[in-house]
Amino acid sequence: MATAPQMPSTRPRWARSPFYFNSASHLLRIGREKAANLQELLEALRTCPESSIFQHTFQTLEEHHFIKEGFSNDFSHWAFAACNEVELAERLAAIDIREFTSIPSLRERIVHIIEAYLQKNPRAATRTAMEPFYLMASDLVVIPTPYVARNLEEFADGLRRVSIHSIYYHFIDARLRLKLNTNDFSSWLEQEMEMGQAADRLNRIDIYTSTLEGVRRSILKVIETETGRA
């Protein structure tokens, strides 16, 4: 018996729980530590609060979200611009914060890189930098937005409307909150929408070779492809 052709469903797939878009603002606190050379930086890094490590690695990426190349974290930039230690700068720049889900492990990596470099180049330790490094800390305040997504269309709409700070908060800052190598968007797609592949594709977007606006566009591209498929 012939069956009537099935019409494509126009009903969107609904999430088990909605995605609430938040944003974040931060205030900079000036820390007590400052470094005039690499040895002093190393000592400060061992004792400074976690919020300082966060500021100079995670938060600085948001502050410089418009730079596509040549900026990774403040320690690398200082090693290059103020200390003229190009090799150390390269090693520090290669730290990918997405590999870290806790600040202590990130601190350990930075300290290890500088220690190893100074062992090999002991004279660099006390050479005075052109500008001192001031350790700062960041107070991040989370702000809710009116955007809520219950399906992919609403998710894409929210992504288009929120500020760049919201993209940063959900896509980059999330790792430290989730303690997982993922982000809020991927986590929601996987757990609430059962879209594991799309979640993986989002997680592979390179934050170091793109601006945050570029990241927003890349996320939207993945979502729009999925929306088209549905």
Binding site: S25, L27, I30, H64, G70, E131, D139, V141, P144, S166
Partner: protein
């Protein structure tokens, strides 16, 4: 390159999507501004004591030479425009950002703020408060601005303190301490302190903190000056007052001292809708260049700053001379302070002597009401220079970044905060370095343009008045216990 052929210009306009109607509207709009600016312009004589410049033989058209000798400068202060409203910033910062500011403000609605400084007019602090306070009130955070009063003896003391805190010599006697504290006490008795938040600007009114109550109100000391190398005696006198506040704010990490109270970093800011920074029609920029004899068909290097040795205008001329060997360009040095400041007049004469008979060094001594003209000069520039030897934060650098210009600046004061070397601008340490970087930018326009774009984003992200306002709202919430770091409000 200046468009000279009118037919080609029309074709270009049509290619760029501008209709005849849009063009007519744009021209009418700019005509109004141009007319307003032209109202009271006269060909200006050199300032008192300065000689008229003589130029060597040149191919430049006569009208350029005439305007370079006698630039047309406005003689009357125009009426101030109405202050902008929050919604006016939406096209600049985007609606989501504006929504976030409004959201932060909503929680503070009804909380009262008192700001206190030492002058209602003139100076950077008054300029900032004039823009910030209307915005806070519009957000329904009632904000009052009080100014302390004092006799000449008080202002002599506070001027001495100001210089001493910048590292100058000072003889701090008991009498001076008494004058400072007694005027602070008089003002404290005169004022009421019933608000929820008190923001005291700079050292002059710092003693008002003695009205701090354990029960009510949070006190913030906003320090706009560089305390990196203060006179120890003066700082030791002020520090116990500062440490009574709940928080302090500085403009750059390098400007701070060790304190027992939390120190926050608030960058100084510019208003993108002010006369100095708002967008200008191309016709107006052309008109200003015409008034000053500037040739827009050749590269323009500009430094805007008062005639002060710490801004190193003579060093800029030396750098220009090195550049000129390779690139045909003009240098514009525009600023004020040479008419009412005897030292400024001396420096202006030094600058004129250094420029000699080179007609491509254009020196403009502008009155304080030249914000629109300065805006136009910055927008007409190919490269903006701020080769300071010592600097506060360097808001002229911020202005250049905002206008998407490649900026070459001395690595002093707050400038390295604004310029990430080779990403948002270029930092230099010498005349030769300055010259090389200008040459490089003039001959690599794509690199210069990318740096300009980065610079504008950097300014938008960190140095606009809207960012400053957001920081205030966050700090108020944190101090009032309404927001805790890393917790959703």
């Amino acid at each position: 390159m200046k468009e000279k052929d009118p037919q080609r210009k029309t074709a270009n306009d049509e290619k760029n999507g501008r209709t005849r109607e849009q063009k007519a509207e744009q021209t009418a709009k700019s005509a109004i501004i141009v007319e307003e600016a032209a109202v009271a312009k006269v060909a200006s004589p050199p300032p008192p004591g300065a000689k008229e410049r003589r130029f060597r033989q040149t191919d430049l058209p006569a009208h350029f030479i005439e305007r370079r000798k006698h630039p047309r400068i406005s003689t009357q202060q125009p009426p101030p425009p109405a202050p902008p409203r929050m919604d006016d910033y939406a096209p600049i910062i985007g609606q989501p950002e504006l929504d976030e500011i409004r959201f932060l403000a909503r929680h503070l609605r009804g909380k009262t703020v008192k700001m206190v400084n030492s002058t209602a007019v003139g100076g950077g602090v008054a300029e900032i408060l004039n823009r910030l306070i209307p915005l806070m009130n519009e957000l329904e955070i009632p904000t009052r601005w009080d100014v302390i009063t004092g006799g000449n003896d008080f202002y002599e003391v506070t001027k001495g303190f100001h210089n001493a805190l910048h590292g100058g010599d000072y003889n701090l006697t008991q009498q001076i301490r008494d004058i400072f504290m007694s005027y602070n006490e008089q003002n404290r008795q005169r004022m009421e302190f019933a608000e929820d938040l008190f923001v005291i600007h700079d050292p002059q009114p710092a003693g008002l903190v003695r009205s701090k109550s354990q029960k009510r109100g949070r006190w913030i000391w906003r320090c706009h000056i560089d305390l990196s190398n203060p006179h120890q005696g003066v700082w030791d006198f002020l520090k116990p007052l500062v440490e009574q506040y709940d928080a302090s704010i500085f403009s750059a990490p390098a400007f701070t001292r060790q304190l027992s109270v939390p120190q926050y970093l608030f960058y100084p800011s510019i208003d993108p809708l002010s006369e100095k920074n708002k967008d200008l029609p191309e016709e107006f920029i052309n008109k200003v260049c015409d008034d000053f004899g500037i040739d827009r068909s050749r590269p323009i290097i500009t430094q805007i700053s008062r005639f002060d040795r710490l801004k190193d205008p003579v060093g800029v001329i030396e750098a220009y001379k090195l550049v000129k060997k390779y690139v045909d360009c003009q240098l514009v040095l525009a600023g004020g302070g040479a008419t009412d400041d005897p030292e400024g007049a001396v420096v202006l004469q030094e600058v004129m002597d250094a420029a000699g008979d080179d007609p491509d060094v254009i020196i403009l001594n502008l009155p304080p009401w030249s914000a629109l003209e300065i805006n136009a000069l910055q927008r007409a520039s190919t490269v903006i220079v701020q080769k300071s030897l010592k600097e506060g934060f360097g808001l002229t650098v911020t202005e250049g970044l905002w206008k998407e210009k490649p900026v070459v600046a001395g690595a002093v004061g707050g400038i390295p905060t604004q310029i990430i070397h080779k990403l948002t601008g270029v930092l230099v340490h010498s005349v030769e370095g300055c010259a090389y970087q200008i040459r490089y930018l003039l001959t690599h326009p794509e690199f210069a343009a990318q740096m300009g774009r980065n610079g504008r984003e950097h300014a938008k992200e960190n140095f606009l008045i809207t960012v400053n306002l957001k920081r205030w709202l966050l700090l108020f919430q944190i101090l009032l216990g309404m927001a805790r770091p890393n917790v959703t409000i």
